[in-house]
Symmetry: C2
Subunit: 338 residues, 2 copies
Amino acid sequence: MALAATKEAKTEGQAFPEVAAELKAALRSELDATNAVILDHLGSRVPLIPEVAKHLIGAGGKRLRPLITLAAAEIAGAGGENARYLAAAVELIHAATLLHDDVVDDSDLRRGFKTANVVFGNKESVLVGDFLFARAFELMVKTGQLPVLDLLSRASCTISEGEVLQLETQGNIDATEEMHLDVIRAKTAMLFEAAARAGAGSLGASPHAEKLGQFAENFGIAYQLVDDALDYGHGAQDLGKTIGDDFRERKMTMPVILAYRAARDDSERAYWRDAFANGSDDFDRAKALIDRDDIGAKALDHARGYAAQSAEALDGLPDHPLKDILRELALASAERPF
Amino acid sequence: MALAATKEAKTEGQAFPEVAAELKAALRSELDATNAVILDHLGSRVPLIPEVAKHLIGAGGKRLRPLITLAAAEIAGAGGENARYLAAAVELIHAATLLHDDVVDDSDLRRGFKTANVVFGNKESVLVGDFLFARAFELMVKTGQLPVLDLLSRASCTISEGEVLQLETQGNIDATEEMHLDVIRAKTAMLFEAAARAGAGSLGASPHAEKLGQFAENFGIAYQLVDDALDYGHGAQDLGKTIGDDFRERKMTMPVILAYRAARDDSERAYWRDAFANGSDDFDRAKALIDRDDIGAKALDHARGYAAQSAEALDGLPDHPLKDILRELALASAERPF
């Protein structure tokens, strides 16, 4: 039934928010309890810290990563307090990286709101990010699950590596698809994968951790590839979303890599090279070139491939109502509007 | 013998480097092994990461915090691989906070060298700091000592809180001695304390953790108070050290708090108030006022008080040659030249 609804809604790009809402509803009590853990751990005797943290983590946000942790735990038969602690920890790690990302990218808008670095300052964002990261570890330690602690600290290393890699490929028009996928795997998909594995392993080693990890890793790659396409106005656009941020920040993403490869002459190649080496205000030309060759659709095709792999990874897992929702979510992620 | 040498050398401010060298010599093989662990964990497939990290952690640095961990472990009878992992972790946490500090403070020099943010950029410093922090956790997890993991993640939270508190008191001439000590305890002394407790607890709960923690906490406070005084040219100055950084950054430290309280008239108070509210290039006047009332000596007296408490905390511990070196180190710290 839900699957039929998904297919119908797909053309409008509404399937993703609907399935995400379905997942939230199925995990409502666990998610509410996780949100309570998160809020509890934003507390500090220094009032500015929860103020900055709540600006980002507050009511909004899809809570995708903690939902993955909670769902993985349920499917692996490992639900409970530990899973909630780990779900909260994963969201805090994510929040810490967002705070630092916005400083690194000089961003001023996120989810349509002014970023913390604009409202509170770069310094505050760096320090509160550090605080959240430390709090995340404090939460993980409560579970006493050393393999999960190892997993999440290694994942955190990998995320930083991915961010540095992204910084290094910034402005480099010769960056390849492989280089970009490497960045995506490290900066985005690693935390998705770790979120799933942590949930599955929240009470000890689980035979389902591997498949759940594969599901989440591929889901994360698809998710990020859609993010890239949305920033050039492709995919199912949500109203109010600004586009062109990656272009202005000279971030090498899939649409640009594909468009540069499809360039028809030296003047087009020179345009791309200059725009990414030196920066450019001419986003319209970039968008026009990408539109002309239907690059957006090609970039989204990549995402669909990973979404399909994500869904497939679930096949080897025991039957569970949440498994069906996760499968729909993965497939819908390639069509998501925000 | 060593104690006599200390007393003799004190007037020249040479006792501290000598005792620190003595401590390094006594722990040479453990420290070398710890340095190897640190270098090993700076490795990354992203070459920029070890490059930035080594710029800071490389050959230089006093390695005070890991030395405290190693010494505490030996005194508590808990020396070995775990202690080395924790000593390395503590140094990596320290390095991560320095990288972020230099970004937050817009610093351009540290230990006479250009800071990483100047050489590599603010973005790189933020991200590599995150990497080091994550690596520190990875190292701690290897020990399997959950209480130590809890201790160090909480300490990391407290450090960030201290940094935010410092940011909030910046430029506030009405900051009190108590507020400043609160900042110092959180941003500096907490990691010293955690370093000692982690060493003592590296193989499990130790009855000596409490005293060793007290030693290190008070040592850390004394150490930071001397830092504050050195920045106004007081204490045993090392050649080549720049002074006036705290003044230019409008950081409220002990010399300024005492000098403002000792101001003789409204015009002096107005000078201090304006210099810290709006910033000032007139460091000479600040220094002249501090010199006139012998404020530097008063600030160092505070440090001596904490150094004495640090030394006293060692009394309740079992006899050990390292204990005597730590006592000398604590007492000499109030006279250290750098």
